[in-house]
Amino acid sequence: METTTRRSFYSAVIAGLGGLMTATLAAPAAAYLLIRPKSQKQSDLVAAADLAQLTVGKPEEVVFRRTRVDGWRVLNEKATAWVLRKDDRNVVAFAPQCTHLGCAYHWDEKENNFLCPCHTSTFSIDGKVLTGPAPRPLDRLVTKVDQGKILIGAEIQKA
């Protein structure tokens, strides 16, 4: 009986200390891998195009440069957005990836809709899914019109 007690004490301590050490390593590892970096600065709105360049009701692919934080690097890189001028004051900017699997879509002039060539999802001019496997409308970017300039942000808004 005494040896049984001693054996189970040994086993309990081995399991307990082993578990404690594993947890002490696993918890910071999970935090390190999963929690976002502390000061991931989102860049401000950047001027992407002149409002006057766009025709009301016709989406245009706008190419502009923006600064993006990529890990330990700060990149000044090319970015694109499909921008639709709705009227004199309002614009909508769609993020350039299809909401299905991230392919680049384009505006199909003939059909008057956005077409993704990968799995033939189509979207209406205001981003709603018309056909195909896309699970949600096109994602939008924050926009602002200021003194005739269209400013676009980096943050993606999912519908």
Binding site: Y10, L25, A29, Y32, K38, R65, V74
Partner: protein, 537 residues
């Protein structure tokens, strides 16, 4: 429980895993086995911890010079628990060396290397060298001044053997004596690709040999019944491992791992020194100068390693009780005393580093590293609303100045800056105009990051700095004369009150100073002082 039993039985029938584990755990150990045999298990656990934390670090690390430093800074300043993981890896390395050396001493004192365990001992000696090789190659990977200069010295020592020296240097990627991308790549490859599989192979052989010959018994053991490895010895191993681990976690939390400035091969003021466990070699070298240098640097260490390696063949006596092994005990005591004395002497005679060991841990913004003239030019650009036409990062009415350097002639630019458009005139003064010309034609890439992000107060401080021509006497971020003291890192030894008083009456604060009196408005004084105080070392 029944399902679990079923799964285990299924696995056992097909792989024999359960009986394998049982065979491993219920190994016989001699009656005398106990606390003095725990060190091997602790060393194994130490290695596994290093593998784990090393993989985590590699997940956010760019193994090229420069980027290595930036990514490590990112790990320790931006990531949650990054500082802790690096601490575990850094102090884990030191504590692993301590455990490995203690393990070796224990075997040496007990004479456990004697027949038939010579091979176990020699594989263990190779494992010690491998452990030291991790320390040597890992030392370079942060790519700060400490890493760089320490490794320069290491490679130079490796180059000493006559005949082989140049080839060793070439192998280390350090042709011509300087170290750079190639040396870095070789050290990194050794640290993460070559050494770990080698270690695993050697540990497997080492453990296999320990199992084959059993734990070394002492002469009295013959009369006593054997014990099982599990659970008593495993319990002792686990408790010892836990104590080791508790020390490691405490150190990783409480003792900050230094990260200095990024490696600067032109820095002539940096005093390199090795990691603490190599300090004794560093100190010993001082005793061997000129043609004798090779004796201290290469011959003696090689002989010592050989002697250690061949210990089973040098000490061929019969197995004895520990108390009777006075020779081995004396040798270990002598080695520990010698090592301690040399290490203490090395610490006492090496002047403290002039560099803030934590310089790399402070967050430095791009503007803080930009020369004042460029920051002031950014100020001039903002002051006269150049950004209305020259949009940053995009073409607008005027060209995007961040895209490429201006190719316009100076005269054209000067005129353009005075009068950028018909009927529009700027308020810029001549020095500001010249500063802008230099900036748009010659600015470096560092300015691009600072351009949109530099705080306006700092930019204004830099403009005051330029307007008063501080660079005519002072050097700041690599630009300016050296008549007066350099201004980088002034905040380390001067406060705001001192600086502000000093501008008004330099001689009062630093007698004999040739600096003229600057009568600045309270706004300018505040901006200039704040600016200078924020420029890091």
């Amino acid at each position: 429980m029944k399902i679990l039993r079923g799964v285990i039985d299924w696995l056992e029938e097909r792989t024999g895993i359960e009986s394998g584990i049982k065979h491993f755990l219920y190994e016989d150990v001699p009656a005398s086995a106990g606390w003095h045999q725990v060190l091997g298990s602790v060393a194994l656990f130490a290695f596994l911890t290093q593998v784990f934390t090393g993989m985590l670090l590699a997940g956010n690390y760019a193994p090229t010079p420069g980027e290595a430093y930036n990514s490590l800074r990112y790990i320790v300043t931006e990531l949650t628990a990054g500082q802790l993981i690096r601490g575990l890896h850094h102090w884990g390395a030191s504590l692993m060396i301590i455990v490995v050396v203690l393990h070796l001493m224990q075997v040496l004192i007990w004479g456990a290397y004697k027949k038939p365990r010579e091979a176990t001992w020699m594989v263990g000696c190779v494992l010690l060298l491998v452990t030291l090789a991790y320390g040597l190659t890992g030392y370079l990977l942060p790519w700060d001044n400490r890493a760089y200069w320490g490794t320069v010295v290491t490679t130079q020592i490796a180059a000493l053997p006559p005949g082989a020296g140049p080839y060793v240097l070439r192998l280390l990627g350090s042709d011509g004596g300087s170290i750079g991308a190639i040396t870095f790549a070789r050290f990194y490859a050794a640290h993460v690709l070559l050494l770990p599989p080698l270690t695993i192979l050697l540990i497997a052989i080492h453990v296999y040999l320990v199992r084959r010959h059993g734990v070394t018994p002492i002469p009295q053991d013959a009369a006593l019944p054997k014990k099982k490895f599990y659970p008593e010895q495993v319990f002792k191993d686990t408790v010892a491992t836990f104590l080791w681990f508790a020390v490691l976690v405490t150190m990783a939390i409480a003792v900050r791992v230094p990260l200095g400035h990024v490696a600067d091969p032109t820095d002539t003021s940096y005093i390199p020194r090795p990691e603490w466990y190599f300090l004794f070699l560093f100190q010993m070298l001082k005793a061997f100068q000129g043609p004798l240098e090779i004796v201290g640097a290469v011959i003696l260490p090689t002989l010592a390693i050989l002697a250690l390696f061949l210990a089973p063949f040098i000490d061929r006596g019969k197995a004895l009780r520990v108390r009777e092994r006075t020779g081995a005990i004396a040798l270990v005591v002598f080695a520990v005393l010698g090592w301690s004395a040399l290490t203490a002497r090395a610490i006492a005679t090496t002047p403290p580093s002039t560099e803030d060991p934590d310089a790399g841990l402070a967050l430095v913004e791009p503007w803080q590293e930009l020369p004042a003239d460029q920051l002031a030019a950014i100020g001039a650009f903002r002051k006269d609303n150049c950004g209305n036409c020259h949009l940053i990062g995009k073409s607008g009415p005027g060209p995007d100045l961040t895209h490429a350097l201006s190719q316009r002639p100076t005269d054209w630019l000067m005129q353009h800056f005075k009068q950028p458009a018909p009927n529009v005139a700027t308020q810029l003064k001549n020095p500001e105009l010249r500063g802008l010309v230099t900036f748009v034609t010659k600015r470096g890439d560092a300015a691009l990051k600072a351009w949109p992000s530099a705080p306006q107060s700092a930019v204004e401080g830099a403009m005051v700095y330029q307007a008063n021509q501080c660079a005519a006497c002072h050097k700041l971020n690599g630009v300016g004369m050296q008549t007066g003291p350099p201004l980088n890192g002034v905040a380390d030894h001067r406060n705001r009150e001192w600086l502000e008083g000093h501008f008004a009456d330099p001689q009062k604060f630093s007698p004999g100073s040739t600096m003229p009196v600057y009568k600045l408005s309270s706004h300018d004084l505040d901006r200039l002082t704040s600016y200078i105080l924020e420029i890091p070392k």
